[in-house]
């Protein structure tokens, strides 16, 4: 499965700066990110071009971080497609733990990054193929 980098951060000035600087120093490129805020702290989730390298760089600096399994899905940037994806997963009883997305090429390509409770990639690919959604592997995604 593709990997997303999760980092525990305190909610105070300078934390985002420190993390991004550390990633820049280790020549990691950030493709997308999201932060879940919980008051005193937050969880930052990053799609990066070199997840392992990014993880090692941050872990080495002492950050509480982890690589999590995710699925990158190419979703055509047209009305109704996210809904279609959600319906497909519902029909197959797959729960979405967390999700974020962004438009890569307006009116053409959107990317959904999903954390699912189903970890069997073969099964996931099969289900998504039925809905004509394309699962991107990491290399593909980072080279877009």
């Amino acid at each position: 499965m593709a990997k997303q980098l999760h980092i525990f951060l305190e909610n105070r000035p300078g934390r985002l700066e420190a993390v991004t600087q550390a990633l820049y120093d280790s020549k990691v490129n950030i493709i997308a990110f999201t932060i879940q805020d919980r008051g005193d702290f937050g969880l930052m989730k990053l799609m990066v071009n070199k997840p392992e390298q990014a993880y090692l760089a941050l872990a080495d600096k002492g950050y509480a971080c982890a690589l999590k399994d995710v699925v990158f899905i190419s979703v055509p940037d047209k009305p109704g497609n996210l809904s279609r994806l959600a319906t497909l997963l519902l029909k197959n009883k797959i729960n979405i733990i967390d999700a974020h997305g962004f438009v890569l090429d307006p009116a053409k390509v959107g990317i959904c990054c999903l954390e699912l409770d189903e970890k069997d990639m073969k099964k996931i690919r099969k289900i998504l193929a039925k809905g004509k959604f394309r699962v991107l592997d990491e290399k593909e995604l980072y080279e877009i």
Binding site: H6, F8, D40, F41, L43, G62, C65
Partner: protein
């Protein structure tokens, strides 16, 4: 001023008779203590094989001190000196680490304790026509039950509400025209700030007296509470090892707490040299129980610092007067009247693998009440990357701490490496509270 006595004979014994009584009771206490393996071994080593080896009160000095660690090591029944059949109640309290300490009471022990509390209440001028609202916690904490039974014995109308629920407290004070309160000084000040919110005024209440204890406070705070409420405030001192409240209490003259010396031998000791200190010299309070059969304690080091006032009280009680507590010889914290040791908090943190070894304890005031904040670090090697996991961890630390110290702490999670590094000298406790 009218002086009321509960037990005039014992309260007004002259010094000589009091000493004679103490000696007789000390002998009895020693013979009870010798029934426990702990004291048997310890007293034998000190050359005391029976009560006959105690000839004068000075022989007390031959007896080694008993410490909180001794109580922990004797847990659960190493200091029980009567058959369990004779025990009617136990009170445990938190030890300095995970192991609690326990005090057993026979029916007679509870009866003695109750009588001392009744005596204390009477000394403040209160009596059967008073309505007594007991706002100290019930249960294992001795503050609640101790005053409760004493107040009933005096014949007061007792409202056993226990701690917390401020609005209900104020409502009951008004509805039942409460005249006497028993609570911590910080909670008393908190109550004052809430009376207006309940739509009442202090004047609409019928309060006359408050017994404030379980937390150190100053003469200024007494004055402040007396002015705010228009009442008399009496200082109270007790500790679970010496039953609980009713060890020392102020009389109507409010000039130090009469220590009931027919029930306890009081020594003030230099914490370093162990030398016996005279009046007006600050030292560690050391107590010997004189009337407790189930768990006699000899020369128990309380770790509380105070001194004895010079001279005699106008109330004619020979029992010496103890000052306000001036400090502790250890690092015990008092949070809203509850005793907490940093080591207890540390022990909880150390057994939760998902948090690091570094921690910090913050104490703040939230209004007039204490707030305990425990700061811990996420342990990076155990971090799984889920938000749910982080929140569950926070809850786990909170619940385990509550189980250990009986206090709801606010938990703050930090990134690894943010808190002071775990070394002997790191400042683990930051107390920003202003002294009451």
């Amino acid at each position: 001023m009218e002086i009321k006595y509960w037990n005039k004979e014992f309260e007004t014994l002259d010094k000589q008779s009091l000493k004679k009584l103490q000696l007789a009771r000390l002998k009895e206490t020693v013979s009870h203590a010798l029934r426990t393996p702990f004291y048997k071994a310890r007293l034998k080593k000190a050359g005391i094989n029976g009560p006959e080896d105690i000839k004068t009160l000075d022989d007390l000095k031959k007896i080694p001190f008993t410490t909180k660690d001794d109580l922990r090591e004797c847990y659960p029944n190493g200091l029980l000196s009567v058959p369990l059949d004779e025990v009617v109640r136990i009170h445990t309290s938190s030890g300095t680490t995970g192991t609690p300490t326990v005090i057993y009471h026979t029916g007679e022990d509870i009866d003695h304790w109750t009588d001392l509390v009744a005596r204390s209440i009477t000394a403040t001028g209160a009596g059967k026509s008073d309505v007594f609202q007991n706002m100290m916690s019930y249960g294992m904490f001795t503050g609640g039950l101790g005053l409760h039974y004493g107040a009933e014995r005096v014949g007061m109308t007792v409202i056993p509400i226990g701690g917390g629920n401020t609005k209900r407290q104020i409502q009951l004070m008004r509805d039942f025209k409460t005249t006497v309160l028993h609570l911590t000084p910080s909670y008393m000040l908190h109550i004052h700030s809430k009376i207006g919110e309940c739509g009442f005024s202090v004047k609409s209440l019928n309060l006359k007296k408050a017994y404030l204890g379980a937390e150190p406070y100053s003469e200024n705070t007494r004055g402040k509470v007396e002015d705010l409420f228009g009442i008399d405030v009496y200082n109270s001192y007790g500790l679970s090892e010496m039953n609980g409240p009713g060890v020392a209490f102020e009389c109507v003259h409010k000039c130090g707490m009469h220590t009931w010396e027919d029930a306890y031998i009081l020594e003030i000791n230099d914490p370093k040299t162990r030398e016996d200190l005279g009046a007006e010299k600050e030292g560690e309070i050391v107590f010997t129980t004189l009337t407790r059969k189930a768990t006699p304690l000899l020369r128990y080091r309380t770790r509380d610092l105070a001194f004895v006032h010079k001279g005699e009280c106008k109330c004619k009680r020979a029992h010496r007067r103890l000052s306000r507590l001036t400090g502790r010889t250890d690092d015990m914290l008092i949070v809203n009247g509850v005793n907490v040791y940093p080591s207890q908090i540390e022990e909880v943190i150390m057994r939760i693998p998902q948090v690091g070894n570094n921690y910090q304890i913050y104490l703040e005031k939230e209004g007039t009440l204490d707030k305990l904040i425990v700061k811990v670090e996420i342990y990076s090697k155990m971090f799984g990357g889920d938000l749910g996991e982080i929140e569950a961890l926070k809850e786990k630390v909170k619940i385990e701490l509550r189980a250990a110290i009986v206090i709801n702490a606010a938990i703050e999670l930090h990134e690894p490496g943010v808190l002071p590094v775990f070394e002997g000298k790191a400042k683990r406790v930051v107390d920003t509270r202003q002294k009451l």
